[in-house]
Symmetry: C2
Subunit: 260 residues, 2 copies
């Protein structure tokens, strides 16, 4: 892959691993926008959040190269992959970081656990226009092709109006037929949490172990400006995500409280 | 440990593992405030962020119990530990989740990578008053005892004025002598990023591997209202942290942009 001066360079990753159908779909769309360097793990890394690999070294292998893309396998997390690509593998800083298409939604507080969104947040921390895409369909037979139209719209928007520093996009696509999707809705993250229901089991040696399972609880199902509402009502949700986790609205109150 | 009706119940964890000096110090202080259930990993889990264990089962072992505390070893991440404790191990929902004292600061964007803060954020998602403590000293000989005074102040404040839903505290204590610490400063998260400098090495088989290293770049060293400034100037920084990652200030602009 030769990067010409006018080529856009896109760093692509995900958290479902190199063989995920959603990654293949996203690669196809990204190649319409520029040269693509894809880096991901062989195995899936779901729920890895912004985790870093600090106790073991990271290994990278170039798997494939043609005139449109290069593909690397990385042993680290999605966040490691973005860091390593930007620092060691890319010809120059990428124009975009794209992550996904995740197999399953990353709406509401799932943004905190998501490896897909962590990769986008990492790109954003480097000052790069970054976006994570997820499909609200966990079925092995999920049809990712319905996402293409909306990925193109978002990418064209990013090309014409770059995001401000410290903000990336969290795009979730509903699980619906093409003709049922009502369009794009700019949203805020819904208030909610995952209520865990650990499955307690015994192993063949009689020892207890737990599987993490859970159900998402939307604390405000009636609010129509949230990503959860958008997905439930067949809209594509686009949430601007900030890397600033300060609760700014509470600073003054806290300051007063500590002065007492 | 018998939990009486009037006892406060504190869930305690960290990301430096069960043998970390900072955890021992935090346990000592927490026992002044109530009965403590401590759960952590044997090994350290630094940089694990809000990662979940979804591909392997989680194991837990009761290591120690007396009339003041119970201590569990958990095979999962700090976030798993909080989830599992609340759902399977505790008599009832805890009054507080406390995490730390981390060996090293978690100021600015380190909140995104920190397992210590992830545990506090997890408690917060369950509607529990939660706080993460970190000491800005990475030395193996770090003196955690200087933190005690400030942990007590923060805990008393939380007891008298509980935090609003969706907000937890990120408390960083400077690396200084007791008499050099100037007090507590309520701050916002500084804008900055970690600039990686991967160390590229060859293993004995001649294959390349990378170690993640990095330096933190403060993008606004002159701003006096940030956690980074506070630490540098020997203040204890207290940042209210929200689980809402929406860039609210950008929603209207994005909405207009997508309407064009």
């Amino acid at each position: 892959m030769i990067l010409e001066k006018d080529d856009k360079l896109i760093l692509l990753t995900n958290d479902d691993g190199l063989y995920a159908a959603g990654l293949k779909t996203l690669l196809e769309v990204m190649e319409e926008f520029g040269k693509v360097v894809l880096i991901s793990t062989v195995e899936s890394m779901s729920g890895m959040s912004q985790a870093l690999t600090v106790k073991t070294p990271i290994r990278v292998k170039l798997l494939e190269e043609n005139d449109r893309h290069r593909i690397y396998a990385c042993s680290g997390t999605p966040t490691d992959s973005v860091k390593l690509a930007i620092n060691q593998l890319l010809e120059r800083a990428p124009d975009w970081v794209a992550s996904g298409i995740n197999h399953g939604a990353n709406a509401s507080v799932s943004v905190l656990y998501s490896g897909t969104m962590a990769a986008a947040i990492e790109g954003c921390l480097y000052g790069i226009n970054s976006v994570g895409f997820s499909l609200n369909n966990f079925s092995p037979a999920a049809d990712f092709s319905i996402c293409k139209k909306y990925i193109r719209i978002v990418m064209k928007k990013l090309a014409s109006e770059p995001l401000p520093s410290g903000i990336c996009l969290n795009v979730n696509i509903p699980s619906a037929r093409k003709d049922e999707i009502k369009g794009i809705k700019i949203c805020r993250q819904a208030r909610g949490n995952w209520k865990e229901e650990f499955e307690k089991r015994k192993d063949p040696m009689g020892k207890t172990y737990y599987w993490l399972t859970g159900v998402f609880i939307n604390h405000e199902p009636e609010s129509t400006d949230t990503d959860e509402w958008a997905l439930t009502n067949n809209f594509v949700s686009v949430v601007p995500v900030t890397v600033d986790m300060t609760a700014h609205s509470y600073i003054d109150k806290l300051r007063k409280s500590f002065k007492k």
